[in-house]
């Protein structure tokens, strides 16, 4: 059952969603538009192509408290910061970014020890996906079978059509949320058609595509190639690619103490920084930038596939869009694939 609200009345739906729990939604900030914990419905916007950063902050905040402690003479008194179980809504997520969450689930909730902070938030979040209606040239989510109005992983799919927002539930959780929201209009049969037409129209949107077949298998074969020095030559080691990436998950754990009180926090970190792998002894397995770029590409397109059977990239295009020196991961993967196949031919 499609529901409807005029785009101009977005504040009403935001206010209604805020009643249902914690709300993460796109908000204009100094960087551009990003997901924020919403405290004022007036700040939420749907006028953006995609957010600067991925939506991981709703489950894996840039800084997350794990423990609070107080230093004592014998050591410290410490208390766990219990993983949050509050219901929350993530509003206005592009389909490729919705897919990134399932990829991250493999890591945080997959085999072995589960990260309770990620898992609890995932279990308690209702996701309202927001279909694309245009394509940016750097995006390549189509390479991963993701459509511009893909509803995979979404509880509700939202499209914007001629000044109206049309929403349709995709799961029981989504149905329950839509039913409980005040201010939404029941859609007329005409709106149902508009919704279907918008979804179909988005299906015709084509991103650029890269061939990911065999990449996971072939990348290790060019590990020692000079290819990586060439590709990494312009890299400034700024780490923005990992910061905006919806599937980059590396983090640090540090203690912050002020006088006798402190907190142990988990903070986003980046494999693009040289200190990331620096041992206390001074030894460092990845001191050179080509080693770090190679690590990032291999981790996403080969190692993650070996471990989780899925490429850890959704083709959102952010790393390319924000790279100050125009390094394009899609191009690297394409060239790596060609290099690997020509190397195989030469070896035969």
């Amino acid at each position: 059952m499609v529901k409807k609200i005029e785009h101009d009345r977005i504040q009403e739906i935001i206010a209604a969603l805020m009643e249902k729990g914690i709300l993460y939604a796109p908000v204009e900030d100094e960087e551009g538009v990003n997901f924020h914990l919403v405290d004022d419905p007036a700040r939420v916007t749907l006028d953006f192509y995609n957010t600067v950063q991925g939506p991981k902050c709703a489950f894996f905040p840039q800084t997350e408290e794990l423990i609070r402690y107080r230093m004592t003479h014998e050591g410290a008194d410490a208390a766990e910061v219990e993983p949050d179980e509050s219901p929350q809504v993530l509003f206005g997520v592009r389909p490729c970014d919705v897919r990134s969450l399932a990829i991250m689930d493999e890591l945080f909730c997959g085999g072995g020890i589960v990260d309770p902070y990620w898992k609890n938030r995932r279990d308690n979040t209702t996701i309202i996906a927001y279909a694309f209606d245009t394509v940016d040239t750097v995006d390549f989510y189509g390479s991963f079978g993701i459509g511009a109005a893909d509803d995979t992983g979404a509880d509700i799919l939202m499209v914007k059509v001629d000044g109206d927002l049309l929403l349709d539930a995709r799961t029981e959780k989504g149905t329950a949320l839509l039913a409980a929201l005040d201010g939404l209009d029941e859609a007329a049969a005409e709106d149902e058609k508009r919704f279907a037409a918008a979804v179909e129209g988005a299906g015709a949107l084509e991103t650029r595509r890269i061939d990911t077949d065999c990449v996971a298998r072939d990348l290790p074969g060019i590990f020692d190639s000079e290819f990586w020095q060439t590709e990494a030559a312009p890299c400034l080691n700024c780490g923005v690619c990992t910061f905006v990436c919806p599937t980059c998950h590396c983090f640090d754990i540090t203690d912050e103490t002020l006088f006798s009180k402190g907190r142990r926090v988990k903070t986003w970190d980046s494999c693009m920084f040289t200190d990331f792998t620096l041992h206390a002894s001074g030894h460092n397995p990845r001191t050179k930038k080509h080693q770090r770029l190679r690590q990032r590409v291999n981790h996403k397109f080969s190692y993650y596939v070996t471990n989780c059977d899925v490429i850890s990239c959704v083709g959102c295009g952010r790393c390319t869009r924000f790279c100050p020196v125009n390094i394009d991961i899609a191009g690297i993967v394409e060239r790596a694939r060609k290099r690997a196949s020509s190397q195989q031919i030469n070896n035969q």
Binding site: L66, I67, Y69, M71, E74, G75, A76, A78, E80, E82, P83, L107, F108, G112, I113, V114, D115, P116, K119, P220, F223, H249, C250, F251, D252, I253, T254, D255, T257, G262, R264, K266, D269, C271, F276, T277, L278, H279, A280, S281, P285, R286, Q291, Q295, N298, H299, S302, Y303, T306, N307
Partner: protein
């Protein structure tokens, strides 16, 4: 759900300074809570994150054996912030432990085989755990001949000196202790670990070598074992990497498709050959 980031409180019961340079100490700790002591079931080769609030955490191999009841031991070299803070601690201080983490020495595989333990310098801690475990009363019969070859640069840098002396007196383990260079009081062997391995020449028949040491020692010791006929499947070692979470989420110790924290730290040479050489 148990929070894997939350350390268990332990109290430092005893601190032993192992070497004459004072920068390697063994910390014996006991759990503050009985339920933690019961829950902490480990095997030789595993490690734990040692946690000091206000400073941070550091992954340290467990040097005691699970056959040692009532306590854990960690032998720690003073290197970074956490280990320096730990070295400055007094007995009685409460610290934290997260673990046990990582895989173990291949105990099932070692069953019924000869085991050659080769260590150099400070890198003898989880090998000590393994050796103590194998030499423990009930366990000894599960293994055939046990040989320990251990060396340090100087006599003062040998760790676990009393224990080494006790092993030398036992007749169910062959112990070869060496130093690169002795001093006026040293009456034992002199020579690098690879040289002693050549002299001892353990048979590769039904034998597994377990080797830990500084890279230079490993580099010269491996060819000795290859010449003796050891296959890469029968040589094991333990890797060190910078780590944070210790259970495969933070991404720091990723080498190829493996995480040293959860897929290691113990690997056979055959497994290491399949990895990218980034450790």
């Amino acid at each position: 759900m148990k929070n894997p980031y939350m350390p268990m409180p332990v109290t430092i019961e005893t601190i032993i300074t192992e070497v004459d340079t004072d920068d390697i100490k063994t910390f014996r700790v006991v759990f503050d809570r009985e339920e933690d002591a019961v829950a902490f079931q480990y095997l030789p080769g595993q490690f734990a994150e040692m946690s000091l609030y206000g400073t941070g955490e550091s992954p340290i191999g467990i040097a005691s054996s699970p056959t040692d009841e009532g306590y854990l031991e960690f032998t720690v070299q003073k290197a970074g912030m956490v280990t320096s803070e730990l070295h400055g601690s007094d007995e009685g201080r409460t610290i934290g432990i997260r673990g046990p983490l990582g895989n173990t020495w291949p105990l099932e595989y070692l069953k019924g085989k000869n085991v050659v333990v080769v260590g150099g310098g400070f890198a003898f801690t989880t090998l000590r755990s393994l050796t103590r475990y194998m030499l423990d009363g009930g366990n000894r019969q599960r293994f055939e001949n046990i040989t320990v070859i251990y060396g340090a640069r100087t006599p003062g840098l040998l760790i676990y000196k009393d224990e080494l002396a006790a092993w030398e007196k036992r007749d169910d383990v062959e112990t070869y202790i060496t130093v690169d260079q002795g001093d006026e009081n040293w009456q034992g062997r002199e020579g690098f670990v690879p040289t002693i391995c050549t002299e001892v020449a353990p048979s590769s028949n039904n034998t597994v070598a377990v080797i830990c040491g500084p890279p230079i020692m490993i580099r010269f010791t491996l060819p000795v074992f290859f010449d003796l006929g050891f296959s890469k499947e029968n040589i094991y070692t333990s890797l060190e990497m910078r780590m944070k979470c210790g259970f495969g989420k933070c991404g720091r110790c990723n080498v190829g498709s493996k995480y040293v924290c959860k897929d290691g730290p113990v690997f056979s040479l055959a497994e290491l050959d399949a990895l990218t050489p980034e450790y």
